[in-house]
């Protein structure tokens, strides 16, 4: 069995995916998504927090809580949003039948596309942390750097996997943008970004644990508070399990879609 071929497919898919996003991600757009959006989203919630503080309804710690939460959430634009778009672009652009007609093994192609966004996601988090530090006065003095880097990397990786899951699901749906928007924004509600998961109604809390980001945000906060890699390892372990399940499920959806499409002869119409 030729192992070099899947590896080659993985990397060529990764490079393609990175280049392809520049079809829509020109420099001004990159600037908007990397610099403007993180700042404005963070500012929005920080000022809401400030509003609560000035009316005596919240502790000043809420600012740091929100700033860190929104920073971690920024990677979801690169992972979930971009991966869904790249995954379903083939269908939208009409190149899906051509791709399916190749003998290429689907798994490295599928996974390779998502993984390049992991690094991009980490960059978004780094930029957002800079805002939190310099603009909103968040104290990073106690941070365990190693633990934080690992937490951010693994969160980005598992969220890319989650993006693959939703991307795979969105093959069945006509407009992937709807999915991309829903599943990116919904993280704001369920992943402990601006308030703890426990603030949600009890029956809804289980939803939070479907998203790797929930674990990642918690791990990130703990690392910034000074906890070590060893301390946050259980959280990271749970996150990895959820992430791998997402990748596998996403792959299953993709393969089943291919089967359905070949059987019915209606790829684009599905």
């Amino acid at each position: 069995m030729n192992l070099l071929n899947p590896i080659r497919l993985f990397f060529s898919s990764a490079v393609f995916s990175f280049k392809a996003q520049f079809g829509w991600l020109n420099p001004p757009m990159w600037f908007t998504m990397k610099v403007v959006m993180p700042l404005s989203q963070m500012a929005f919630f920080v000022f809401v927090g400030q509003f609560l503080i000035t009316t005596g309804n919240a502790h000043p710690d809420i600012i740091a809580y929100m700033a860190i939460g929104n920073s971690m959430m920024m990677l979801s634009w690169n992972t979930v949003f971009s991966v869904i778009n790249i995954t379903s672009n083939d269908k939208w652009d009409g190149t899906l039948p051509l791709m399916l007609a190749t003998p290429a093994h689907r798994l490295p192609v599928f996974v390779g596309r998502a993984m390049v966004h992991v690094l991009d996601g980490m960059l978004s988090v780094a930029i957002s942390f800079a805002y939190a530090l310099f603009l909103f006065g968040v104290n990073f003095g106690n941070t365990n750097t190693l633990a934080l880097i690992v937490a951010v990397f693994l969160t980005s990786f598992t969220m890319a996997g989650f993006g693959l899951l939703i991307g795979g699901l969105s093959f069945y749906y006509r407009d992937p943008m709807v999915f991309a928007n829903i599943f990116t924004f919904i993280l704001l509600i369920f992943s402990g970004i601006n308030f703890p998961v426990q603030a949600l109604p009890q029956p809804l809390q289980f939803i939070s644990y479907i998203f790797p980001l929930t674990y990642g945000v918690d791990a990130g906060r703990k690392a910034i508070a000074g906890q070590t890699l060893f301390d946050i390892a259980p959280l990271l372990g749970q996150m990895l399990i959820v992430g791998f399940i997402s990748i596998i499920l996403g792959y299953v959806f993709f393969i089943s879609f291919e089967h359905v499409a070949r059987k019915t002869g209606r790829i684009e119409a599905v």
Binding site: W24, Q41, F47, F51, N57, M177, V178, N181, F185, A199
Partner: protein, 274 residues
């Protein structure tokens, strides 16, 4: 019916028909306001004071704004994607009237969005929806809607100038949520951002809406500081007055900008490019 109004109505009707047959495109525009409102309501849950209504009004405002930005901003682009821009341009009616019709329909979606947020918030979070003066509340909502539509017309023109309209929609959406004071008083913002807040019609509109709802304490207090809290009624009309002036300015800018853009596009052929 005068021809310009007829064209505006026809374009409005066309937009509504499109929405009926394909409603899902509205979803990306409404997700953010819904989610932000939900988050704000959760944060405000334990807070003492009428924060519930504060949050839903803010969320509704955001919904109206989001729809305008995406819907109106892409009004001309929509015609390009449909392939109908050349035929619409070649007709003897003014393209600006066509865009205006679309802009009104988008703001109406936004208003519907606001009502939906109000109802859902009331049901899920048990937010009391009592407003002090329902008639003035309605008036201020409709006028704010028109102000937002007028702002949308400016975007419709500006977005023709660039292939990167998406940059503007993504780049403007959240900053406007921040500077318009939709979910917190603009007094909390750094002083240098406040001019940006005051030149936005919706900033005055939402203040008028809050005053009509009886939320004097939540007002940005621009007028209240001058006329006193007991004259909230006067402050309400002053807010509306300022908003109307700003809206008129928007309309003038939109008309001038549109003419410039249309002429430029016809000259360099970019109006008819794919």
């Amino acid at each position: 019916m005068p021809q310009p109004l007829r064209v505006i109505y026809s374009a409005f009707r066309l937009a509504m028909l499109h929405w009926i047959v394909d409603p899902q495109w509205v979803i990306p525009n409404v997700i953010a306001p819904f989610v932000f409102t939900f988050v704000a309501l959760t944060l405000f849950k334990e807070a003492s004071g009428p924060f519930g209504l504060y949050a839903v009004l803010g969320g509704g405002m955001m919904g109206m704004w989001g729809n305008t930005l995406y819907g109106s901003g892409f009004a001309i682009s929509f015609e390009k994607w449909q392939g109908t821009l050349e035929e619409v341009e070649a007709a003897p009616s003014n393209l600006l009237h066509v865009i205006a019709g679309r802009s009104v329909s988008n703001a109406l979606f936004g208003l519907t969005n606001m009502v939906a947020i109000l109802l859902i918030a009331s049901a899920v979070f048990r937010v009391p929806l009592g407003v002090a003066n329902p008639i003035l509340f309605g008036v201020s909502m409709v006028l704010t809607l028109l102000s937002v539509s007028a702002l949308g017309l400016i975007f419709a023109s500006a977005f023709v100038l660039t292939r990167s309209a998406q940059v503007f929609t993504n780049g403007l959406e959240f900053p406007i949520y921040v500077v318009s004071g939709s979910m917190f008083p603009i007094a909390l913002l750094p002083f240098w951002t406040q001019p940006a807040s005051y030149i936005l019609g919706p900033t005055w509109g939402i203040d008028a809406i809050r005053l009509a709802a009886g939320q004097e304490n939540a007002s940005m207090a621009f007028w209240l500081d001058k006329v006193g809290k007991e004259n909230a009624f006067l402050a309400f009309w002053l807010d509306l007055g300022v908003m109307l002036l700003i809206t008129l300015a928007y309309l003038v800018i939109a008309a001038v900008l549109f003419k410039m853009v249309e002429t430029k596009s016809r000259r360099d052929g970019s109006l008819v490019e794919a």
